[in-house]
Homo-oligomer: 324 residues x 4
């Protein structure tokens, strides 16, 4: 009976997780961001537009740029049209639609500063607007330059995690394991891991969430070139000590993983977070090796597709009775 059991956890819960102890879903989303909604600040202050632009996918980012480019040109085309096409040379005045098309192209030639001159401003107002449109264009591309650089120079760990954590046989007992590997041509060194687990417990017959730091066999590694299997032995000091398969299935568990490493190309510290919740923990399984020598025996091959591959593995039976 799970609820009763969980009261037995002996490890002192940690106080500095930064999360509250009330129950409202996952703490850390799979992508590593906290599962928190902010309100009460107006929308402009609640978002860092730069953080937002950096988090967009490449496709979305480029789409926004193209849409913004079209909208800006439509806006300026309208202004030139309202000023009057007679303030521009070279406009096709055969009908209003052609006029608008030509001022639109004039606008784009001004905004990008290509300025062929086939269409050129002659009147004061059109010249003045063009003066500012070209200026705005250059500032916009100055900002775009910064955004592009910010996006691709943003230090990232590029770590792939196994989809699940397993409870595998380990020495004479068992251990909670998951693994990760760098999947890009970046060079990571001095990696370390911090694992915090949130476990739902009954305290004075009301549910509450406690946080525990999980010890690992190896919490630092010199070079993160191959995969790294992180092993938390379920010994007497573990909050999972004595957990049966049912306990793992029925208890609200979240394992919050925080990896930090040094990227030698960026010369910067990079971090990545993820979490495993109850349904992502497989009891009685072990991972299948994912690297092997190449056929000439001159180098090591790391097969990243195998990162989540595991096989069934018998766990030693925990002698619960003995303690009583």
């Amino acid at each position: 009976m799970a609820r009763g059991f969980r009261k037995k956890i002996q490890q002192k819960n940690t106080e500095n997780s930064g999360f509250g102890s009330n129950l409202s879903g996952r703490f850390i989303n799979k992508d590593g961001l906290p599962n928190v909604n902010r309100k009460g600040v107006n929308i402009f202050n609640r978002y860092s537009w730069y953080h937002t632009m950096l988090d967009l996918s490449t496709f979305n980012f480029l789409s926004y740029l193209v849409v913004a480019y079209i909208l800006v040109n439509l806006f300026f085309a309208l202004i030139y049209y309202l000023i009057g096409v007679e303030h521009l040379t070279g406009i096709d005045k055969s009908n209003p639609v052609n006029e608008f098309i030509d001022v639109f192209f004039f606008s784009s030639q001004t905004f990008t500063t290509v300025g062929y001159g086939r269409i050129a401003p002659v009147g004061f107002m059109a010249s003045l607007v063009a003066t500012f449109e070209a200026f705005l264009g250059l500032l916009t591309f100055a900002i775009a330059t910064g955004l592009f650089y910010g996006r691709f120079s943003r230090p990232r760990a590029y770590l792939k995690f196994s989809d699940v954590a397993v409870v595998a046989p380990f020495k004479e007992t068992s251990a909670l394991m998951f693994r990760l590997a760098p999947y890009k041509n970046n060079a990571l060194t001095d990696a370390d891991v911090v694992i915090t687990t949130a476990i739902e417990v009954m305290e004075n017959s009301s549910p509450k969430i406690n946080f525990y730091q999980l010890k690992t066999q190896l919490s630092k590694i010199n070079t993160l070139a191959l995969n790294w299997t992180i092993v938390h032995e379920i010994d007497e000091e573990s909050p999972f000590y004595g957990f049966s398969e049912d306990d793992f299935k029925n208890t609200g568990i979240e394992i919050i993983v925080h990896i930090r490493a040094f990227d030698e190309v960026f010369s910067n510290t990079v971090v990545q977070r993820t979490s495993y919740v109850t349904k992502e923990i497989v009891y009685g399984a072990k991972f299948i090796p994912m690297y092997y020598p190449d056929k000439d025996n001159l180098s090591t091959v790391l097969n990243l597709d195998k990162i989540s591959d595991y096989q069934k593995a018998e766990l030693p039976v925990f002698m619960e009775e003995e303690e009583e």
Copy 2:
């Protein structure tokens, strides 16, 4: 009687605050910058123009750019005008004003490199000036690009602090508390806080300022996703031990707060400072919770408008007599 009392502080004052002990207003302004004026270096050396440009508000920054753009074009327009409009093609020579307007627009078309060519230089001098104006234009936009990038990639903590610190009931005694929360979509981890307090004391009957490091219940936190209430228990080791409500109101106190955290998007350490002075400390109050589960119980909502909300709270009476 406050002055007398303050002499009783037992904690050793810290020497490495970096501030002098003479009395000249607040040490740290509310925005976190030291309250110091520099003189004696000439104005060009006293300011880092880059630090200055980064500290400008967005509105001021853009305004400066626009004004500079207009001034540069007026300057070059004047030069082209003095060289003579006959060195340019396509100028409207109907009257001097139109001439000047046209050279102004020619200047802007050169500076932004839009170069329609309707107005173009033909003479040697006008061509030479245009050659350098276009060059200057590109360098200017190169600098602007750097400034934009510097401005929005500048690592910042985006922390909102409560307007006041409170002296609230805590365990059997009381504690000085204030709170903070990140208000943007940035992801902060590994936050730590250092609190130094400056207290005005009488030493050999002349006023002097002593500095004390304040201990906190929790000086590090793993994830700064929700709000963080920083708690300094007023126990026997606190410099505020034995302070009555009157003492808090009549003593010159400044609580200097220094937060440091790791921003996972920038992969950089970010810091933020603030300070609370005597009039920003509320005696006998406690903060009202500011986060709660959302209605589906799947996520946590953090209401940032409530960050400074507190309610009255009775404090235990300090038994001053007992010590004697």
Copy 3:
């Protein structure tokens, strides 16, 4: 007899090298990158194109840019040609080749936004394509700006290592030594070194690789201005204790070097790695000094060409028998 001997290593092997213990060539290539091939992720996800662009040589990088520029213009020239040269003014229509040449140049004038206007779009389709080509051109140069900056602002240690490590006489015993020096006008301080060695041993009559941390005489240095000779004394705690010349020649050894320093110009930590394998270790040799006072005795001259220069040196005979 080497194989037997190597079993005697007393030092505990380190577990956190991050490398596996199977045998598949060098662990770290001479240039510092791990000798690992990744597979199983598709090619777009397996490479960080930004890391790749930063690792290209200057010549390759510029070549790629030029080739890309030509290809983009050929692509757009084809589109303009298919749209029809009658949508452009100023085209030399004497024959199809000249037409294509002219649309190619029109494309380049649009992509770079130079836009002379001698050739200019008049039709809707040509104008529309030109609108996007100019936009694409500016974005491309925005990206190029970021790549250039990323390339030359990338923090690097610029350390030159001696080609070989030597086993030299040291105090009464011997020591493994290699040396390094900064070869550019960068200013490095607070350097430290970590040396891990991989040694092939026989365990239960099957070959296996063990990792050992090598102690050095001096693992930190304040200023890295001259050369730095790193000295690992082969004393009883060294895994090489008792190695004869033959042992050094016949054992699979890899000495993995990891240097970390602070670059004062970039204000950033820089790292560099290299490794020495069996054939790069010279037994019975010592380095020749590589710096000396200049002729006015006012400054020190560091001759970087001498970094790998060594001379023969007699080593004390190791009394293997004594231990038995």
Copy 4:
């Protein structure tokens, strides 16, 4: 008698200064760079051109840009001239000088992409060269953008040091002191200082340089807002213990100072180095205070012109005889 005296230094000399112990002038120049010349690597590899461009003064940097701009345009003008001015429209063909002037301006209009079009390429060769000149122009400005950004975003401490160090009365003995202050509107926190001194000593009657770490009263400071006087007490553990005025004047001494702090605007660690040699040490002097409250007593004024101001101060006589 100085030489003899210096042999008495009891402190163990530090080995990890990174400098050799031969005598060849100052180790660290006043501007903080090591006094070392490198040779033996070819000139292209010996300099990091990026470090060099960042170290240029603003005037030199801009001058180089202008000169490069002129040279590039002369180069391309020559090419266009050799191709033949008949491949360009709008050239003033009255005489060869005017032709060259016009191709020069055409070149500049292409390089900056201003492209008025008054002069435009018509022939194949001229168009082809213009195609690459415009491309080169954009890449050049991409690089210039990076250099500008690199230059002004380069983290620097902006510390002003006193011109001299003084040996001043301190407690019952004396102390070596110098001071520093930030002179710009940057915000430095968490500053720390490391002082190494090089002292010329006689060892076995040949001169040699020993290095000693100097202890300071306060080696860390929280906020570097005012000036910071660094105090090395000359007590029994100091290498200067027992030095007379003559010893200070006749011994080869170099005090190497290394300051490290955190800049809150750049969110980066900044460092600055300097050194004081024998002739920059004033015996029997103390610094004059350089900050005071402003007239409204609301803020502190720091007068940076006073940083090197000192006055004579009597030192306690050292009782050398007592030791014998």
